[in-house]
Structures are given as C-alpha cells and as structure tokens.
C-alpha cells in the first residue's frame, strides 16, 4: 500500500528557498553593496519568524491543554495547573507597567524557570562522572587514548601537579588541546553540518 504513496514537492517553497539561498550566497561571497539591504531584511525576517514561532508555540500549548481539560482526559489536572500558570504569567506581564520587568514575573522566573534550567545543567557533572566510569578504561577500544588525554589535561589543570611539572609538558598539552583536538572538534562540527545540509535538501525534494 505504501509503495503507491508519493510525496509531491512544494515547488513554491523550493523557489523561495532557492532565491533566499542565492541572495545570501551573493551577499556573503560577492559582497555586492546593492544586495546587502535585502540580505539584512531577510535576517530580520528570520528573527521575526522565530519570535512569532515562540508566540504561536504558547498558543499551541494552551490550546492542546485546554482541549485536554474540556475532554477530561487523564492528567487533566496537570493541564489545568499549566493553564493557570500560563494565564497568571501572561496577565502579570501584560497588565504591569514594567512589563516583563515586573517583580512578579521576575520572581516567577527566578524561582521556577532559572532553578529548573540550573538543575538540568548541574546534571552535567553526573553525566561526566558516569561517562568517565564507563569509557576511561584501558581495556576498551580507544580507552587508553582517552585515559591518557584526560590524565594529561588534568595534570596541567591541577595546581599541585602544575607546580611540579615542567613548562614544556604544559605547553605540549595546551598545544594538544588547541590544535589537534580543536581541529577534530571543528571537523566533526563541520561534517555534521554538511551532512545535515544534505538531509535538508533531501527533505525539500521530498526524499527523492
């Protein structure tokens, strides 16, 4: 059944993307002054679109959870709490003369959103410890290299070891981090960027 299905590429969207791609490419590489204002305008549109997407996202979330409450689905109480919080924050920001700088909005951000984000980031230490436990082993494939690299970087970073080690070792480790490791990292980032670009092109051509 699925073999008979086809996806039709949106030619209008493809034309727009092609025009924007060419325009920004000319602006980046040819540096023609007359093209610059159009390129800046497109960048501004992109920022505007991101802001609009955020607003639309808030409406989307509210709509989904209002429907859940009305239908009485499982977990509707959580949805109700979400809607109440949504309305409180929105009303506070809208009706306060200081807008998002109003004390209540700032208090909500400082006591709820910021601790949540900090908690997620603080888990990084546990991830690192768990990853070190699993991967920094000589018996594993490549584990010796990882272990050697980590020990070298640690040795240079620790004040006691730094005082006892010679300057040449510190310079060597810094060179390792700045040159080969950074090159590999940038290579991985560029490589994944190119691969994702290819995926995006396949998406636009509807996987054909």
């Amino acid at each position: 059944m699925s073999a008979a299905r086809t996806l039709r590429p949106n030619l209008f969207a493809l034309l727009i993307i092609l025009a924007v791609f060419v325009l920004l490419g000319i602006d980046r590489f040819a540096e023609i002054p007359t093209v610059r204002p159009f390129a800046v305008m497109i960048y501004e549109w992109a920022m505007l679109l991101s802001a609009f997407a955020l607003l639309l996202g808030a409406v989307n979330v509210a709509w989904v959870h209002v429907r859940r409450i009305v239908a009485g689905d499982a977990g509707w109480l959580h949805s109700l709490l979400l809607i109440i919080a949504f309305v409180v924050v929105l009303a506070t920001g809208l009706f306060s003369t200081t807008g998002v700088r109003s004390p209540l909005v700032e208090m909500l951000f400082d006591t709820i959103i910021a601790p949540g984000q900090a908690t997620i980031f603080a888990m990084l230490a546990f991830f690192m410890a768990a990853a070190a436990y699993r991967y920094l082993r000589v018996g594993r494939t490549g584990g010796l290299w990882l272990l050697a690299g980590v020990l070298l970087v640690f040795a240079v970073q620790m004040p006691i070891a730094n005082a006892t080690l010679s300057l040449s070792i510190g310079n060597f480790v810094n060179w390792l981090v700045d040159v080969p490791a950074m090159a590999a990292l940038r290579g991985a980032l560029l490589g994944s960027g190119f691969a994702l670009l290819l995926v995006a092109i396949r998406f636009l051509l509807t996987n054909r």
């Binding site: 997407a53 690192m128 090159a183 290579g187 996987n207």
Partner: protein, 198 residues
C-alpha cells in the same frame, strides 16, 4: 550528534513507539527534541516524511517539538502523501524553547509514561522525561548537545532492527549513508592534518 541519528533511525524509533502504544491502546509520544539551531532539525523533518510514507496504522500520535527557532513549525507543513490511504498526521505540541521546559512538556504530554519508560529499558521509577538525558542514544529523534554523553555501550543497538518489516513494508534504503560517513571521516582527518602541517 550520534551515529544512530539518521532520518531512517528516527522514523524507525517512532514506528516502534507507535506500534507498542497501539498494542496497549495508548497514545504514542514522539519526541523531536529542542535543538538550538535550525540545521539540527533537518533529520527530524526528513524522518517525519519517511514516517508519513510508511505508516499504515490508524493512530494519531503526539509529536513534541521545541527549540529556539521556527523550525518546529515546519513539522506542521510536511507534505501529505497522495495515491493511497495514509495514516493520520501526528498532533504537534510545542515543547518550549529551553531544555527544562522541554522536559516538563514531555512529562505533561502523556499520561502513560510508565509504559514508555519500561519500553526504554527503565523501571517505572525513572520518569520518562529523564530517560532522554540518561540515555540519549535511545531517542534518536532528539538532537542532544555535546555534554549529553551517550551512556549506552558503543556498538549496542537499542532500537529493534527493521521495525517496518513487522508492518509488511520494507525500510527505505539509504544509499548516502556510507559515503557521507566516510567523507566526513576523511574531512575530519584532513582538518587534523592541516592543523598539524600548516
């Protein structure tokens, strides 16, 4: 970010989730992550296309997608297949711009998290929304950041191989998979060599 984050892998993971939830009569929850850049969503967009082409079920899963860009809206504009009856499109829910909001929204978006946590290999004591941070490679649909290290052994295949075969439809061959990987390896090697020699 991870080796299994290709469009086919994401679609396969989604299909496995849809089929497992269909069996227990629950709503499937598909996770698209909250990538920081627009380019990070490309694989998810392509995966939705592939999933739309291959699905034969009658489920309407929830698709949670966030991020600080407008790319999540593109998931609403996936082209509809023509020529044969097709499965309903997922209901898209915005997952928030940041990681913490996304995790909270993931937890809110389904009321049957325990069954999914069991599917992911955890006991019911592990909340669904934390599963992705503990084992990000089990959720190929999520573009994780560098600091979320894969806590699954290298070479392990947590996702069932070829889940589309169960539905009677072969998974699409990806002829670009091999040469992209080798090309990027060569590219990274050239960068390392150039840093050493130049």
């Amino acid at each position: 970010m991870y080796w299994n984050r290709s469009a086919a892998d994401i679609a396969a993971a989604w299909q496995a989730e849809i089929e497992s939830k269909l069996e227990i009569g629950a709503t499937a929850l598909l996770l698209a992550g909250a990538p920081e850049s627009m380019l990070g969503s490309a694989a998810t967009l392509l995966a939705l296309q592939q999933s739309t082409l291959l699905r034969n079920d009658v489920a309407t899963p929830l698709l949670v997608a966030g991020g600080n860009s407008a790319v999540w809206l593109a998931l609403l504009m996936s082209p509809q297949p023509t020529g044969a009856p097709h499965a309903p499109m997922p209901t898209l829910i915005f997952g928030g711009a940041d990681e913490a909001t996304y995790l909270a929204m993931t937890g809110l978006s389904t009321s049957l998290t325990a069954s999914r946590a069991t599917y992911l290999g955890f006991q019911n004591t592990t909340p669904l929304e934390m599963g992705r941070t503990l084992t990000p490679r089990l959720e190929p649909g999520i573009a994780t950041s560098w600091e979320m290290l894969p806590l699954v052994e290298v070479g392990e295949h947590p996702i069932p191989a070829q889940p589309f075969a169960a539905a009677g439809t072969p998974a699409p061959a990806d002829p670009t998979g091999e040469w992209i990987g080798w090309g990027m390896m060569l590219f990274a090697l050239c960068l390392v060599l150039s840093a050493l020699l130049i």
